[in-house]
Chain length 211, copies 2
Amino acid sequence: MPAVTAHIGMSLDGFAAGPNQSPENPVGVGGMRLHQWLLSTRAWHEHWGREGGAESVDSEVLAETLHGVGAYIMGRKMFGGGDGPWDTSWRGWWGDEPAFHAPVFVLTHHPREPLVMKGGTTFIFVTDGIESALDQARETAADQDVSLTGGANLVRQFLAAELLDELYIHLSPILLGSGERLLDDVGTPTLEQIKVVASDKVTHIKYRVVR
Amino acid sequence: MPAVTAHIGMSLDGFAAGPNQSPENPVGVGGMRLHQWLLSTRAWHEHWGREGGAESVDSEVLAETLHGVGAYIMGRKMFGGGDGPWDTSWRGWWGDEPAFHAPVFVLTHHPREPLVMKGGTTFIFVTDGIESALDQARETAADQDVSLTGGANLVRQFLAAELLDELYIHLSPILLGSGERLLDDVGTPTLEQIKVVASDKVTHIKYRVVR
């Protein structure tokens, strides 16, 4: 059965983003350090249609998280463009041909027409909540997984609502000291550790949410 | 060169103890779940002079943390007996023959004569702070390591004071939701991930503190 999955970077002290997040810097101060491990991977380069990058454990993990995804769900903060009504000149951070190659359901309080990008990515704006977004994403994904792209707030909402099946955490050996915690206020769901893989930069741990 | 090490259990949401800690229950509600992985190991049984227990990755990790330690440093809360002046009938939680088999320097605000136990464990009470405890422990340990037994507060103090060389975290797939965080208010020391080992119950990650 297709799963609802999330994969997200976390610091050892539990933050998915640094302090002083803003529309211009949604990952906060120092937050990009949590994603350094993926930038050098072969899978990341391939995902964006580029040559190069290194074959590595990290690359394999990234490829795994990108495989078999039929639809994505994304938080408004991650899509960008501020948090008020839309300025429709804002088309996301990812250029004309984003690497999702699938429908991306963007949660927002402000309606907007779907945005069809090159390469199979369509941003669809959902204003009636996470369950509606999930229903639509599941229908689109059919027998493939639905993947949460983040940010942390979206993952927290899905965990708290008991709608998440798999949580894949990329745990960096970094202390941010402050910022946005990934796992605050999600209740205490039961997790089962189902996979652990590590490079010298990061430890990847996949958890199944037991229901 | 001998190192100052700490090994401590942590929940995925960053807690080393659950809520409602008390002198009778220093690990707080649910906190013992963070230590379940070690109770069934061969190394734990051997440490306490008992037969049985399972050979496993977890057992190897525990044996590693117990090897080559010349002296321990312990927080008052972990030693127990309340937090006021000593009732000298309190001799710790570990019976007449504790499994430390080495000097244990206990940090406290209240002076007390050393307590000589069977099997080589002596509890030595230190009232003039962590640096004094460390000096004494280092001198006693000579060419062996000094290990912090915990609790979390002690580990935090050593991290914040830049006195810790190695932090070995046993990360359980557990969300406690509240309690005592291991890594709050320690500043942002630079860590290097030097070892990752996992069983199906817990992920062990050893970090070197870079100075």
